[in-house]
Symmetry: C2
DNA sequence: TAGGTTTGTTTCAAACTTTAACCAAGCGTC
DNA sequence: GACGCTTGGTTAAAGTTTGAAACAAACCTA
């Protein structure tokens, strides 16, 4: 089959999208590095933990929520543990598992830095979008995410990395 | 001033957007690593070169086009040079400058892998969007990019890294 | 319940990014 | 024409990410 190249319109959209995501991620990383001493990804890990019951999640679940590989998470948690923002705890029920838990200090850092982060996102994105555009952005993003999550044609690192592999943790929750 | 938190709608949009960009970048990286043996960024560097007159660009200009730091580019070009896809050449007029030039082999790699790349982008994005949504995406992305490019409140690494610092190269072109 | 498989996590090496110097060449000026 | 500032590019060290093992616990199943 001959290649279905992008139309000029699609190309413009694609380039604009690439530029925007690139600049945005850079800006957020800079802001968080400055104010919280960590990159966006690490901030997201803390944020994910903060929303979990007991601020506590199995490594695998946390990796899934943060949409990163487990190995990357291991490194990140090790670092954040050194900083005192997270601590680990073994799982009683499943000896293979271990929890990552947001410490009080971690929560404090999050609370202290959240306003600045939100302000950055607002200034970069939502202050410039109409209500309709916010909805459009959600719709478009959801479609793309769904397409990628449900797609197995693109080979993933390992089978258990797949986002649609929804399993409740054997020993999560209180 | 009290923090202007995100509304639920904005939050949904933000999360969807983050998930989409993350999954998308991952998928593209995997596909290109598989088929072209390099990450998206490196592919982009080659692509930028391929569009330049004589497939040739000063390092600084290439960094600017690729929206990365010069140091990052130095590393990337060194790697791509090892692979034989790029070669360097000194600038006659300005002894400080050096060019990065896409070799024939580099061009061949690009031509061989472009269809697969486009197909990935299509399958992940444009196959699922209506014509209106493509326009919306471009509009939204452009707004965000413009906001970030014109914004100096977020401190950048160094002044000469700023995207709006448009200068024509002293010795570019033929 | 022994054997093989799956699951949860970590480890390791190689690749990549960042940050802060560093160096040399141009530029301005006194 | 020497001083200082800017520009183009690289380097070095520390930090991060990746991808492929390695490992141990849990789960089959015959």
């Amino acid at each position: 089959m001959t290649t279905r190249w992008l139309t000029p319109k699609e190309q413009r959209a694609w380039r604009a999208y690439m530029a925007a995501t690139h600049l945005l991620e850079d800006a957020i990383d800079r802001q968080l590095q400055q104010d919280a001493g960590m990159p966006h990804l690490y901030y997201g890990i803390l944020a994910n933990l903060s929303e979990a019951p007991e601020r506590k999640l199995r490594m695998t679940d946390l990796a899934e929520k943060s949409k990163i590989t487990r190995s990357r998470l291991t490194y990140a948690v090790t670092r954040l543990e050194k900083d005192g923002l997270i601590r680990r705890e073994d799982c009683q029920w499943d000896k293979r598992s271990s929890f990552a838990i947001l410490t009080d200090e971690g929560m404090a850092v999050l609370e202290r830095t959240a306003p600045g982060h939100v302000e950055t996102v607002r200034a970069a994105v939502f202050d410039h979008l109409s209500a309709e555009q916010v909805e459009q952005l959600e719709e478009i993003s959801s479609v793309i995410a769904r397409a990628l999550e449900g797609d197995e044609s693109t080979p993933r690192p390992t089978a258990d990395e797949l986002p649609w592999r929804r399993r409740s943790s054997p020993c999560s929750g209180s």
